[in-house]
């Protein structure tokens, strides 16, 4: 155990970083909070209240580390129903009640609740929520407000709205629709543009800034009124004094209706599922590899929801997109969540009048994009690639949710999954699932002897119904240990389990452990089970004969330099896990790999993703990896520039090398062990970096990772990169031998 004082000083050391990331997150949280609240028919400020109360309470009481809380997009559908059927006042009471239920879930350690839902059903439910958001807000985005009873009607009428929008004659409406379309374009193409300075401000904030600037331009530049129709402007952003004056008095009339408790249950269910899924996903991104205390987080979220509901705010949930931005911006502990709330308060306190200059369609474009992301065709193709049954479950959940409601929808999904499981396993006897449901079918023990690894054996069947047993055992294993999960006694493993297993695999890989799954290949031949086998043992892509031009040139390059070339995708990327560059990123695969004969130098294209959900960006780069014979200190070296100067304020410290002012000025050097690093950058090494082109160079102790641009390298650049790496290796090994 480390002494307490150490923790406090570490906390203060990390504080600037967290303030910075809290600030960036608040830039997204502001427009999203306003938009989500308006999409749920609540006053716009309700979303901000939820984010502020949540940010403060969960950062103090919560059990996770880098999550951000606030109003969630999953809840829009339920809140909309609650507010339209119950009225705003009773809806706040429903929010308070759902907060209490959430609190109870935390106290009864029901954090495992989200594990009982098959992943296809959850995907279907999320897609339905996406369609609800998209269907309703699309019309507002096109400046064509309509009111329909059924969610499906909203979707059906989208073409009519587009048609109407083309024929607008009112100038105010045309400008409003243009603002919406322009904002949607920004959302769509923002992640495609990889420009450092542009990316400094998140897309939703660009929309806010641009629309406020637009309105000021008309007012002060052209001395004309804003051309956007006034009914399509954000209205009713109260000042702080008004918020405090307007705190609703709790009104418990009408809580004894069926629809009230239906809403409470739906709110609780969706907010717990959304929070739990988000926490799980964010834990994977945590650079410090901590484990969240899910139940404690649930309690904090419940309490925050109660507070938020009493003050006139929405439900507080853990949100994935904002959390992933937080991680990417260097947030390391809960204080960033707190500062995000603080900045929101400052925004409202100082800029509440400016916020009314945002056109409604622009704000709704953000939500349309969110809805599209939830229900994008990619989700469906992914489902289909897992298995046709998945599509059935997906669409059953989706349609029932749209037609009837969320709770009925997810229940229908669970039932559909169960029936499908029984049917596809009928050759194993109908009793397989029913008979073995209650059996403690997971055995885990530490194998005695030299290896000391954990062995987990699963019997009978393993599906969403009894996955919690397996999970309980797997959670009891520290992630830096070795685990073997054996499914050879298991007749049936469903996709929900396999998806979770692959999450564990990633987690263990990142934290230095090993997670192996055995026994499924036999399973495949024995039971002919369709998706289990296909999921875990993906058939390697059939070798494509048609290589691209870049690939053929790489092939010739390989011949000329006597390297070996592998164009195929490789999923085994564990050798990259130790590099800090990948701490907050997920590596999808590497491909087009070139390596020399003894495999010490290799060049490859890599696809990785950072962020989650609407903040997700997929990156591709060409990288050079050098295995070193000696150990060197861990460091990161990059060009010194504007961005680094900004983050230097936020607590990252540049290491300067004595007597090499030019190097220190031009390069930005990071690392924990300053003394060792300063020793490592001797005259030769520094001179090498000074006289060669800039690359991002990173060391993990015994290997180097070098890359340049924010994209794949051309053949010429590959040659240059290879040459740079080769020479750097020589310089380093020479420097090391002199050292010895």
């Amino acid at each position: 155990m480390s002494p307490k004082t150490n923790n406090i000083s570490a906390f203060f050391k990390a504080l600037p970083k967290n303030i910075f990331s809290g600030f960036v997150v608040s830039l997204i949280a502001l427009p999203l909070g306003l938009g989500l609240a308006m999409a749920s028919d609540a006053p716009p400020i309700a979303g901000i209240i939820a984010a502020v109360i949540g940010g403060v309470m969960v950062s103090i009481l919560g059990g996770s580390h880098v999550t951000i809380v606030g109003p969630g997009n999953g809840l829009v559908g339920v809140l909309l129903v609650a507010i339209t059927t119950l009225g705003l006042e009773s809806a706040y009471i429903a929010i308070v009640c759902s907060g209490i239920l959430l609190l109870l879930l935390g106290f009864f350690r029901m954090g495992a609740l989200a594990d009982f839902f098959p992943s296809a059903a959850i995907q279907g439910m999320l897609a339905a929520i996406g369609l609800i958001i998209l269907g309703k807000q699309f019309h507002i985005m096109m400046a064509h407000k309509i009111k329909r009873a059924d969610t499906i009607d909203y979707l059906v009428e989208i073409p009519f709205t587009i048609n109407d929008a083309v024929h607008y004659e009112n100038k105010g409406l045309i400008f409003a629709a243009l603002a919406g379309i322009l904002s949607l374009t920004i959302m769509l193409f923002y992640s495609k543009i990889r420009n450092k300075y542009l990316q400094l401000i998140p897309a939703p904030m660009w929309i806010v800034i641009l629309s406020i600037a637009f309105s000021y331009y008309f007012e002060f530049g052209l001395h004309e009124p804003n051309p956007i129709a006034p009914q399509y402007m954000v209205s009713g952003i109260p000042s702080i004094q008004e918020i405090i004056a307007d705190i609703p008095t709790p009104n418990f009339i009408g809580i004894w209706s069926f629809s009230f408790w239906g809403s409470v249950l739906a709110l609780t269910l969706i907010s717990s599922i959304e929070s739990l899924l988000s926490i799980k996903a964010v834990d994977k991104l945590d650079p410090e590899k901590r484990r969240s205390n899910v139940n404690r987080d649930l309690k904090a979220l419940g309490l925050a929801t109660v507070g938020s509901g009493l003050l006139g705010g929405l439900n507080v949930v853990t949100v994935i997109a904002r959390s992933s931005v937080n991680v990417n911006q260097g947030g390391t502990n809960r204080s960033s969540n707190f500062f995000h709330a603080l900045f929101l308060v400052l925004f409202i306190a100082f800029f509440s009048t400016q916020l009314t200059r945002i056109p409604l369609p622009a704000l709704m474009a953000i939500l349309v994009y969110t809805g599209y992301k939830l229900a994008s065709p990619k989700v469906i193709t992914k489902m289909f690639s897992i298995g046709k049954e998945q599509l059935i479950i997906f669409f059953v959940t989706l349609i029932v949710t749209l037609k009837i409601g969320l709770i009925t929808g997810i229940l229908a999904g669970v039932i559909a999954t169960f029936i499908i499981h029984v049917v596809i396993n009928k050759h194993l006897g109908y009793g397989l699932i029913v008979r073995n449901l209650a059996k403690p079918n997971v055995l885990m023990y530490m194998e005695q002897g030299k290896k000391n690894n954990y062995y987990v054996s699963v019997k009978h069947f393993c599906s969403f119904l009894n996955y919690f047993r397996l999970k309980k055992h797997l959670d009891a294993i520290p992630e830096n240990k070795d685990v073997i999960v054996d499914f050879s006694l298991c007749h049936f493993v469903d996709d929900t389990v396999l998806e979770n297993i692959s999450n564990y695999q990633e987690l263990f890989d990142k934290r230095g452990g090993h997670f192996d799954v055995v026994g499924l290949d036999m399973h495949d031949t024995e039971t002919k089970h369709p998706f289990a086998s296909r999921r875990l043992l993906p058939v390697p892509n059939i070798i494509k004969n048609s290589l691209t031009r870049r690939q053929t040139s790489m092939e010739t390059l390989a011949e000329n330099y006597s390297l070996t070339y592998h164009p195929k995708r490789k999923k085994k990327v564990s050798f990259l896990n130790n590099f800090s560059f990948f701490n907050t990123k997920h590596i999808n695969h590497i491909y087009n790999k070139l390596n020399d004969n003894n495999c010490s130098i290799s060049i490859f294209d890599i696809e990785f993703s950072e962020g989650e959900f609407i903040a997700k960006e997929v990156g591709r780069k060409t990288m050079l990896h050098i295995d070193l014979d000696d150990t060197i200190p861990k460091f990161t070296l990059d060009k010194e520039g504007f961005l680094e100067k900004v983050s230097a304020f936020a607590g990252f410290k540049d290491i300067d090398i004595d007597n090499h002012d030019d190097f220190s000025n031009r390069f930005y050097l990071l690392g924990d062990n300053r003394v060792e690093i300063a020793k490592f950058f001797n005259d030769d090494v520094t001179h090498f970096f000074e006289s060669n082109p800039y690359y991002h160079v990173e060391s993990n102790g015994n290997a180097l990772l070098i890359f340049g641009k924010e994209r794949l390298a051309s053949i010429k650049e590959i040659k240059a990169l290879y040459d740079f790496g080769k020479r750097l290796r020589q310089v380093i090994s020479k420097a090391q031998t002199i050292d010895v």
Partner: protein, 282 residues
């Protein structure tokens, strides 16, 4: 330590396709333990049946197999139980093939009833074979229970007679004994410390038992201790199955109440899913 040697071995015989395999297994065991074999048939005696039995056991004549056939009509459970008491049988063998539906029923009800009521040790065979399969690996429970010491001693006694080389003593530990709930890194670390402590305690308890066993039984044996955190009775069966044990030796169940039948535990788990041959010691 008092050890009850197996002086007479009983087996219930039905004229099923498995008859020969069951008889061979029983006869081989009787030879190993130098015990008398009692064949119990539920039904009327007939010349034909006796002849079938004697032809079957002909090949064991050279090993001086001493056997006796008892015919008795009536309810199978009562007949087998009463006969084994009359004949002072120490070990009762029940043949049970996992795969057959009918026998599943058999194991499910008749064997269960007999196991619950019998006053002698019981061996449930799931894979009887005419060929002799060497019994290489024995798994025995090391529960914290007054009966365990006798069971482990008996396991070594059996191992010696059937020339088994490896004995694994499985200590099943209830999850409830770890009072820490794993929620985050800190509680995980605490839980693991508690687990280590319990494991050490259990291992030293079992080692103490092994020390008391006469050395002639324990020498030349590979002894392995395996603590497992899991459901009592179920985990050991699961373990026996994955470690491909040839014989699983268990304590006899304590007196069953109504609740125990409703919520199966310990030996009941083993009976519903026979992982391998099971010997229940009285």
């Amino acid at each position: 330590m008092y050890l009850k040697p197996f002086k007479s071995i009983g087996i219930g015989v039905a004229f099923s396709p498995n008859l020969k395999a069951n008889l061979f297994e029983a006869a081989r065991l009787s030879v190993f333990f130098k015990a008398k074999l009692v064949l119990i048939h539920v039904g009327e005696a007939s010349e034909e049946k006796t002849n079938v039995l004697s032809t079957c056991l002909k090949s064991f004549e050279k090993d001086n197999l001493d056997y006796e056939v008892v015919f008795k009509p009536g309810d199978p459970v009562n007949v087998i139980l009463s006969t084994s008491e009359e004949k002072k049988i120490d070990l009762l063998i029940l043949g049970a093939v996992k795969r057959e539906k009918v026998v599943k029923y058999y194991v499910g009800s008749i064997a269960r009833k007999i196991t619950r009521q019998a006053k002698c040790s019981i061996l449930l065979l799931i894979k009887p074979s005419v060929e002799s399969n060497p019994c290489k690996h024995i798994v025995v429970n090391g529960l914290k229970d007054p009966k365990t010491e006798q069971t482990i001693t008996a396991a070594f006694y059996v191992a010696n007679h059937v020339n088994s080389e490896k004995i694994t003593i499985v200590e099943e530990i209830d999850q409830e004994e770890i009072h820490v709930k794993v929620e985050d890194d800190k509680s995980l670390r605490r839980a693991n410390i508690v687990k280590e402590r319990i494991k050490l305690r259990e291992n030293s308890r079992v080692n103490e038992i092994i020390k008391h066993i006469p050395e002639e039984y324990t020498k030349n044996k590979t002894i392995k201790l395996q603590p497992i955190f899991g459901k009592r009775g179920y985990s050991i069966g699961h373990y026996a199955q994955i470690s491909r044990a040839d014989l699983l030796i268990m304590n006899s169940p304590s007196k069953m109440t109504f609740w125990d039948r409703l919520f199966p535990h310990d030996i009941e788990h083993i009976l519903t899913e026979l992982p391998t041959d099971v010997l229940i010691l009285q």
